[in-house]
């Protein structure tokens, strides 16, 4: 990997600013490996829950112009098997791993944290925002700044790893939630999770395309929403942001950084550009730096902080 792509994130030196986000090509140690081999600098596990989950029945993905709906339903092998995969990955790779976990209450988050403490993971990410389990769990945690604060505060007390809060875009006031996370001790923010949710209908069969009816939006079309929320948040917090949502090319990644992201997630774009997307974007970032006279990522300016 090119030296000019090196960056620091929470004390780790990473060889590329590109992150494999939670839930995308990360169910097994080998899935994590292939992203790193293709240029990702950090990888995130699927959001793990205490018990295994088979997820929603299919169809679980649906394409539309500009993106995808998904309602995977947090399928995962459970924290024990999930961490085993992560440990197996870490035996083969020194790429930092973010362990994503999902729960609906403080107690379960604490139990998950204890498991993660025993693993070889490098960061703990709290998925506070999964919109695909509304039915089951009600309003997402990430919509309540008090809940967010409470959970992070509790987790931070026992976590041996830096804690990242993954925020939902589907809230009125992202800044107050981000600040709640920061003041509770979160070491970084990850934003955004999927947008919406949305729905599509099969007009011949008069049925929702997704069996779960609703799915979160990801892919290129959510980029403007991600940029807005990241920019807004960056102006008001002092912890680093993992920016994601619709990044598909080098310019998109640069946009994220200018909006305030320290490192950048690339998820759905794997569909559009293949698993090689990480290296492609790495190269495009270097081209951008060449064309615009930046020596390294640290020189890439942030957008002026402005009132929204």
């Amino acid at each position: 990997m090119h030296n000019r792509l090196k960056t620091k994130f929470l004390g780790f030196e990473v060889r590329s600013p590109l992150v494999l986000p939670a839930g995308i090509m990360d169910m097994s140690f080998s899935a994590l490996s292939i992203s790193t081999e293709n240029g990702a600098g950090i990888v995130t596990s699927k959001s793990l829950t205490l018990e295994p989950r088979t997820g929603h029945k299919g169809p679980v993905v649906a394409e539309f112009e500009g993106g995808f709906l998904n309602c995977m339903g947090l399928c995962n092998p459970g924290i024990v098997d999930g961490l085993a995969e992560i440990n197996e990955f870490k035996e083969r790779s020194d790429t930092p791993v973010i362990v994503s976990v999902f729960a609906t209450n403080v107690n379960d988050f604490l139990k998950l944290t204890e498991f993660v403490n025993t693993s070889k993971g490098d960061f703990l990410e709290l998925n506070l925002s999964c919109p695909n389990v509304f039915d089951e769990f009600g309003i997402p945690l990430a919509a309540s700044k008090d809940e967010v604060h409470k959970i992070i505060k509790a987790v931070k007390k026992i976590s041996e790893l830096p804690v990242i809060a993954k925020l939902s875009p589907n809230v009125y006031d992202i800044v107050s939630i981000a600040k709640a996370a920061e003041s509770a001790g979160a070491d970084a923010l990850c934003m955004i999770n999927t947008v919406g949710p949305g729905m599509l209908i099969d007009t011949k069969m008069v049925k929702p395309v997704l069996f779960n009816k609703l799915g979160g939006l990801s892919g290129p079309c959510i980029k403007p929403i991600a940029l807005k929320l990241i920019y807004q948040t960056y102006s008001d917090v002092n912890i680093p942001i993992i920016g994601m949502g619709g990044v598909k090319c080098g310019e998109d990644a640069i946009e994220m950084m200018m909006a305030g992201a320290s490192i950048v997630g690339v998820g759905t774009a794997i569909y559009y550009r293949g698993i090689e997307v990480f290296n492609k974007i790495n190269n495009e970032i270097i081209e951008f730096m060449d064309e615009n006279g930046y020596e390294n990522l640290q020189e890439i300016p942030k957008l002026e902080k402005l009132l929204m």
Binding site: M27, S28, S30, R53, T54, G58, P59, E63, D202, V209
Partner: protein, 291 residues
């Protein structure tokens, strides 16, 4: 190609007990070995290999296994279902002398493949295996193709007696020995092998350029043991959800390649590296399930 299309079932054919072929009038443009995702929007979207594909029609041949396939078996001609695809990699189209080894519901994809192979001038030997006569698939359809068809049953109730791999071993090991290859496959019991009764001509099977397999994973694992140095491709099945390469359900260890994109057809050089081959696969949650 991820466009969704909702189609009427144009034809349903009972093949054998619990296996039916569903045909659709639609220009799918699939390549042999590829699969589609099928749903009725009632819960479940599942991968099925394409068993035939002409200019304006395609078929899939389905075994009733669980909830989804059982519901499918209740559908009638004219009912609607919805598909995405075709997805995935396809078989290399050889024009040489090829051996196709198939078992169970995974055999019919070789019907589509054989037609394409014949167009390219390949010389085809197909081992069509099942446990017993009633489970043999596509005997007539394969028969009409004019290929070297070796039907075989474990219990000998039809065609050869023995597993597909037993037959393959006979064909390949003699050849291997002829070529004095280094690899020493375990021969096992060859006594069930009666070339005379097979309607297949000894002289045709001397030297294969390419071997293809589609069937239960343990069959392919055993077959791998008798192939030696010949090039091959195997069709794999893993739990699939998105079929577009993002969810990660279908990746195989230790390479992390996705069977819905880089597979389901994998070439020898990849298969040889798979540590999970014949050992385990993953369920809908991603948990490993031992074979």
């Amino acid at each position: 190609m991820n466009k969704r299309i909702t189609l009427k079932i144009a034809k349903i054919k009972d093949e054998i007990k619990d296996i039916k072929t569903f045909s659709f009038k639609y220009k799918l443009n699939a390549k042999p070995g590829q699969f589609i995702m099928l749903t009725d929007f009632e819960g479940g979207e599942k991968p099925f290999s394409i068993s035939d594909c002409t200019k304006d029609e395609f078929s899939i041949t389905i075994k009733k296994i669980g909830e989804f396939t059982s519901r499918l078996f209740q559908k009638d001609v004219g009912d609607l279902v919805s598909i995405r695809g075709a997805f995935g990699s396809s078989f290399f189209i050889s024009n040489g002398k090829v051996l196709l080894v198939g078992g169970g519901y995974a055999v019919p994809t070789f019907y589509f493949f054989s037609k394409i192979l014949l167009e390219s001038g390949a010389n085809i030997t197909l081992i069509n295996g099942a446990r017993t006569k009633d489970e043999l698939l596509f005997v007539e359809k394969f028969g009409k193709l004019g290929i070297n068809l070796i039907n075989t049953t474990d219990d000998g109730t039809f065609g050869e007696k023995g597993t597909s791999v037993d037959i393959a071993r006979k064909l390949l090991v003699s050849k291997l020995q002829q070529n004095q290859l280094v690899s020493k496959p375990q021969l096992g019991d060859n006594s069930r092998f009666h070339p005379a009764t097979a309607g297949w001509k000894r002289e045709n099977v001397d030297k294969f350029d390419f071997i293809y397999a589609s069937g239960p994973e343990m069959m392919m694992k055993a077959l791998q043991g008798v192939i030696g140095e010949i090039e091959y491709e195997f069709l794999f099945e893993r739990y699939m959800k998105c079929a577009i390469g993002i969810c990660g359900s279908c990746t195989v260890d230790p390479l992390g390649i996705r069977l819905c994109v880089e597979g389901p057809v994998l070439p020898k050089k990849i298969v040889e590296q798979l540590t999970e081959f014949g050992k385990y696969h993953r369920d809908a949650s991603g948990k490993r399930i031992l074979y």
